[in-house]
Symmetry: C2
Subunit: 147 residues, 2 copies
């Protein structure tokens, strides 16, 4: 099934609408893509955690939060295709309104954190980190527990 | 050893300079941190690759390139501490001038790609991707081959 085909891949030739001839996203592609997004969030959250524990360079704090915020804003798009699998519980789609609301909240809270980090640095942003990064709360509900 | 301790963790008390009491980065921290950075690059490059193969949403192309560019600009800092291990060959530090030059080139080429993608979209940026993403070339020289 085509979930991510490019609109401009549809071409009118001789009055006939021709379906895209390019490779199209299948279910495994959908899962792979959202895992690339979520793993990026995980790697960046880990880098931020290391900085807060004084185990990584603090001067990179603001940029990691920025990357996290930009990536978080792409996550909802990655989950829109209703394709259970990977680490996602079926509840992601059964309770889509709640799940989507949480992703919107994550995008907003990390964007706010990125602004605080850019303007006020680590000291200003640190108190907001635990509230902004809602990873565990959402994973507890919507991610298949790790074995 | 302290490589990433915060400068302000040094505190003068009663005329004595007290060493930082916080947790400090050890060699494994240095390796972990740079792996978080490099894995982020890998996940984002994979997402970009999927889009180019029409297997992921093309409307996210510019943002993935942006994330890649921002992350690439943090990579040199992550490799500055001379700590062999992880997937990094000792040549990273033995040939630091070359390695650093390559990371600078990656940061510049991905920043240019991000600008092209933002201004001209996927169609404008696509021809530049192979030249901008120098991952394999550098990995062939400086990364321990995967088993």
């Amino acid at each position: 099934m085509s979930r991510f085909s490019r609109p401009f891949a549809l071409t009118a030739v001789s009055g006939l609408l021709i379906a895209p001839v390019s490779a199209l996203a299948d279910d495994q592609d959908v899962i792979d893509y959202r895992q690339h997004v979520m793993k990026t969030l995980g790697e960046q959250a880990a880098a931020i955690g290391m900085i807060l524990e004084h185990r990584a360079p603090p001067e990179n704090f603001a940029v990691h939060v920025q990357i996290l915020a930009i990536t978080a804003a792409t996550a909802k798009k990655a989950f829109e295709p209703k394709v259970p699998g990977g680490d996602a519980k079926p509840d992601v789609w059964a309770k889509w309104a709640d799940f989507a609301k949480r992703l919107d909240a994550l995008a907003a809270s990390t964007a706010d954190l990125a602004k605080t980090a850019k303007d006020g640095g680590l000291a200003a942003a640190e108190p907001k980190v635990a509230t902004a990064l809602t990873c565990k709360n959402c994973h507890d509900t919507y991610r298949v527990p790790k074995q």
